[in-house]
């Protein structure tokens, strides 16, 4: 090999990696470290800051509003896992058994809510949830004789169901795509063998199909929970007048809380502390899930 070529081989990978490394350094690592430091400061508006030690964390852990936000976020996360994902799976199973032309059409239809931004979805649903005139109110009224004048976005008891319903419309199709891809990778001969052995549909699904796509399921569950903990745009666009809080903070999520304290009240230090607490919660839940699924696999 010639000398210039050897020289190129030495620096070329670094040169090609340089943009990625620079961007990661500037926009990921530096903010991450800065946020870690900032969590121990109190900031007042854009300029001033003062060291407060663990003060931000102490305040956070005794703040009922933060707990309310955490509770709302957990409710959404639980609904994501126990409502969204089974629905996604059901749709994926349905599509997987249909003919190819219809499969393509419905895949597009069900995935299409993801092609529009969450802000758009929020605005759309805020119209659908309008008392008396909203499509959902009218539909529910026709179906049950109740709900024409219901304030989905004004009644604290109905705000979270409204957010969950909106989330369902957006994410069911998205997760379905993952499940559909996984289903297409399941070994058909195993399912066939189980059927020959006398297993019914449910048994085939539970004992053969689901274990075969376990890795995808774990991935979808983990990403759904992470996504749920990052919920921000939907409540913000559904409840714009209260900055996403909703009546009695019924729509407040941990990220909305972070936004409120960091960018409306001007305490980026407390905002950073919230960010770190949320990151730790997500890390703990994800680790637990991965461990549990690993244990199940070993068993």
């Amino acid at each position: 090999m010639s000398a210039p070529k050897q020289l190129y081989r030495g620096w070329a990978p670094w040169l090609l990696l340089a943009p990625y490394l620079a961007i990661t350094l500037v926009f990921t690592l530096y903010p991450l470290l800065n946020a870690a430091v900032l969590a121990f400061y109190q900031t007042n508006g854009p300029v001033s800051r003062v060291f407060v030690g663990l003060g931000n964390f102490r305040f956070l852990l005794t703040d009922p509003v933060f707990y309310k936000a955490l509770w709302n976020t957990c409710v959404f996360a639980v609904c994501s896992v126990f409502l969204q994902l089974p629905l996604s799976m059901a749709l994926a199973l349905l599509l997987n058994s249909g003919n190819d032309r219809l499969k393509g059409f419905f895949r597009l239809v069900l995935f299409s809510p993801n092609l529009v931004g969450q802000i758009f979805v929020g605005i759309l649903f805020s119209v659908l949830f309008t008392p008396r005139y909203g499509l959902i109110n009218r539909f529910v009224q026709e179906l049950t004789g109740w709900g024409l004048e219901e304030q989905w976005l004004g009644n604290p008891a109905l705000v979270m169901p409204a957010i969950v319903l909106t989330g369902l419309w957006v994410y069911v199709g998205f997760n379905m795509i993952y499940f559909l891809a996984a289903l297409q990778g399941v070994d058909k001969s195993l399912e066939e063998a189980a059927r020959i052995d006398g297993a019914n549909r449910l048994q085939v699904f539970w004992n053969v199909t689901l274990p075969s796509m376990r890795h995808v399921v774990v991935f979808v569950v983990v990403t759904s929970i992470i996504g749920s903990f990052q919920l921000f745009e939907l409540p913000l666009s559904l409840l714009p007048a209260s900055n996403g809080r909703g009546p009695d903070n019924s729509g407040l999520t941990v990220i909305s809380y972070l936004y409120e304290v960091g960018f409306n009240s001007g305490d980026l230090g407390l905002g950073s502390a919230v960010g770190w607490v949320v990151a730790l919660i997500i890390l703990a839940i994800s680790t637990l899930q991965i461990r549990l699924s690993g244990a199940a696999e070993e068993a």
Partner: protein, 454 residues
């Protein structure tokens, strides 16, 4: 050379394109910097942007400068401004800031506020007596003024005069809330007998929201006082909440919630509610969004809480601030005066927005005295201007969001109590909840170490 590049041609061209685009970007930035305006003004309001675009050439001609006008979404404007100040990067010379956002910028010590202190300029140039006094409050912190008010936003009621007349109700007699509620009981009707009331007296949010805030403001109750102290926990708040609760919940309620946008306009057209809370800016939205109601709508001052009492409130506001980092602060101040204290321009702008400027010199202009076809020949400008001196002051705080949330919480707890147990123990519950809310807001505020220092 390409042949000698490791990994082949594709990586070579990738590197080449990256370097080439960097050079082009750098060169065009340099050129853009050369063509930069002498002053930059950022606004979030489309109507303001359109109005300023028309008048800025005159300012440019008078001063021999170029003014750059930017239209930025309200939320983005605040976030970008915050970030720019935080990072010490370029900021506009002048910024129009929306209601509720000044608190963030004035949270720290006064010396760290990123906006120019305009107190002396307003005093020395004798503008204070020429501007509606209450409107300074929103842009003040610890007695210092950081923006000039763009508007008054006095609140009136817009109503379906045709339907009210058909019911034989004289709007002029609805001068107190007591009389208003009594009339409201007669208005409630279920036309089709399905158990759902089809006509209500007034549009009020059932969760409190802007309706409760406006009525509290009318009674002089704000969330915060001039020194940033909590002021919402007073006996009148309890009374107002109980009253509001009775009008929005239970069998005797006189209101419904009509929402925003299309549903609001549909409700107006259908006559679902007869009265709608309307500050000046909303009167414009109504006349543009439901043109079919031309000649069927009228304006009425808010009923007073007691005979001869205040007949208005305020809702919203915009202020014009000059950033401290601006290298041309005097020129920026000249532009601020040109836009906000130039009566001729304010007259034209009123016809395009219905927004009453706080600069009183302008109110005698013909535009403010002209009858409005939409509002059944009423002199819209004069009607709002008549109420402007009565508008109560409202102080903003970085904790406004926190306090609003807490007051809303108190009201909703009261709703829960009322729906289960009625009036029994209602006042006591509201008082207890208000005490807790005040204590919480004070606790959050007490964390602000730096904001206490001047």
């Amino acid at each position: 050379m390409i042949e000698n590049f490791p990994y082949g041609k594709a990586p070579f061209w990738l590197v080449f394109l990256a370097l080439f685009s960097s050079v082009v970007l750098f060169a065009t930035r340099q050129r853009a910097a050369e063509a930069r305006a002498d002053l930059t003004l950022a606004t979030f309001a489309v109507q303001h942007h359109a109005a300023y675009k028309k008048v800025l050439p005159e300012f440019e001609r008078q001063h021999g400068v170029r003014v750059g006008l930017q239209l930025v979404d309200m939320r983005a404007l605040q976030t970008r401004l915050q970030n720019a100040m935080l990072a010490g990067t370029e900021v506009p010379d002048l910024v129009e800031i929306p209601d509720g956002s000044i608190g963030y910028f004035t949270r720290g010590p006064l010396k760290d506020v990123g906006f120019l202190d305009l107190t002396e300029r307003i005093e020395h140039e004798d503008y204070r007596p020429r501007i509606v006094h209450s409107r300074f409050s929103k842009w003040e912190s610890r007695g210092r003024l950081f923006a000039v008010p763009h508007d008054v936003h006095p609140v009136m009621l817009v109503y379906r005069s045709d339907l009210l007349e058909a019911l034989g109700i004289d709007a002029e007699k609805l001068d107190t809330w007591e009389a208003f509620v009594a009339a409201g009981q007669k208005v409630r009707q279920d036309f089709d007998g399905d158990g759902v009331v089809d006509r209500h007296m007034i549009d009020l949010p059932s969760a409190g929201g802007f309706g409760l805030t406006i009525l509290l403001t009318q009674r002089g109750i704000g969330l915060f006082g001039s020194q940033g102290e909590v002021t919402f926990n007073v006996p009148l708040t309890v009374e107002t909440m109980v009253w509001y609760l009775h009008q929005t919940h239970g069998p005797q309620k006189i209101s419904t919630e009509c929402g925003w946008g299309q549903s609001l306009m549909k409700a107006m057209t259908d006559g679902l509610a007869l009265f709608y809370i309307a500050p000046d800016w909303r009167s414009y939205l109504i006349q543009t969004d439901v043109p079919n109601l031309r000649g069927k709508m009228k304006l009425l001052p808010l009923p007073a809480w007691e005979k001869g009492g205040r007949r208005t409130s305020v809702w919203g506001g915009t202020g014009l601030a000059i950033t401290r980092a601006s290298p041309k602060q005097d020129l920026a101040w000249a532009l601020a005066k040109f836009l906000y204290f130039n009566p001729t321009e304010l007259g034209k702008r009123f016809t395009e927005t219905n927004i009453l400027p706080p600069f009183k010199d302008a109110w005698d202009l013909s535009e403010f005295q002209a009858p409005s076809e939409f509002y059944s020949g009423q002199r819209l400008g004069a009607e709002y201007a008549k109420l402007a001196p009565e508008t109560p002051p409202v102080w903003d705080s970085p904790y406004s969001g926190v306090a609003e949330g807490k007051v809303s919480e108190v009201f909703l707890r009261a709703v829960g109590h009322y729906e289960q147990r009625g009036d029994k123990g209602l006042r006591e519950l509201i008082q207890r909840e208000l005490d807790a809310a005040e204590s919480y807001v004070n606790r959050v505020m007490a964390r602000n170490v730096l904001g206490r220092t001047p």
